[in-house]
Symmetry: C2
Subunit: 112 residues, 2 copies
């Protein structure tokens, strides 16, 4: 496998890896409803705030979320809403249905 191709798959894997954690998936879903500060997310998740902060930094690292500091709080929002489209397919995989059970949700392309 040639080097450039290899690098491309590694880049893809980095993005998927960033999503491949229950807490981070929860964060993505939550942010799809609107921006949230670290404190709010921490309350819902019930882990240490430092843990949540690190999860957010992983998502930010690959460009899935964006942060904005306002006052003493940092608000996170979804930058790539397209990742939400994964969920229908993922659910279909979980159900073990065939490919046809994966109906893409109607997505309005929205600037977040």
């Amino acid at each position: 496998m040639n080097r450039a191709i290899q690098e491309q798959f590694e880049a893809r894997a980095r993005v998927l890896k960033a999503l491949a954690h229950p807490t981070r998936l929860f964060i993505v879903e939550e942010l799809s409803k609107g921006e949230r500060c670290v404190h709010e997310l921490t309350d819902q998740i019930g882990a240490d705030m430092s843990t949540v902060s690190k999860h957010l930094s992983v998502l930010k690292g690959v460009g899935i979320v964006r942060d904005e500091k306002r006052g003493s709080q940092v608000f996170y929002s979804l930058r790539m809403g397209c990742v939400l489209d994964f969920f229908d397919c993922v659910e279909a995989v979980i159900r073990g249905g065939d490919d046809a059970t994966c109906k893409p949700r109607k997505r309005k392309v929205q600037r977040l």
Copy 2:
């Protein structure tokens, strides 16, 4: 976070985690062109066959691929082609473009 919800995000994470590896992404892309036996994939990947076999077993474990033994060979094929849809969005994330740069590919829902 309630227990059932928690479990749902864990299930989703298991599927994404199965995809979150360069070699496994390569396998998925390769299988999208048609079934392949372990030997063929091993040649292309250039790793030990046992390593490739384990990657295939991870993909099979979550239901993304299917295996079929014929003679002394085992042929793997893509069971959930919908995962291919992820790639456009993932590429958009890599490019760092905004959401709109993620154009869903025209996908024909095909029974594999």
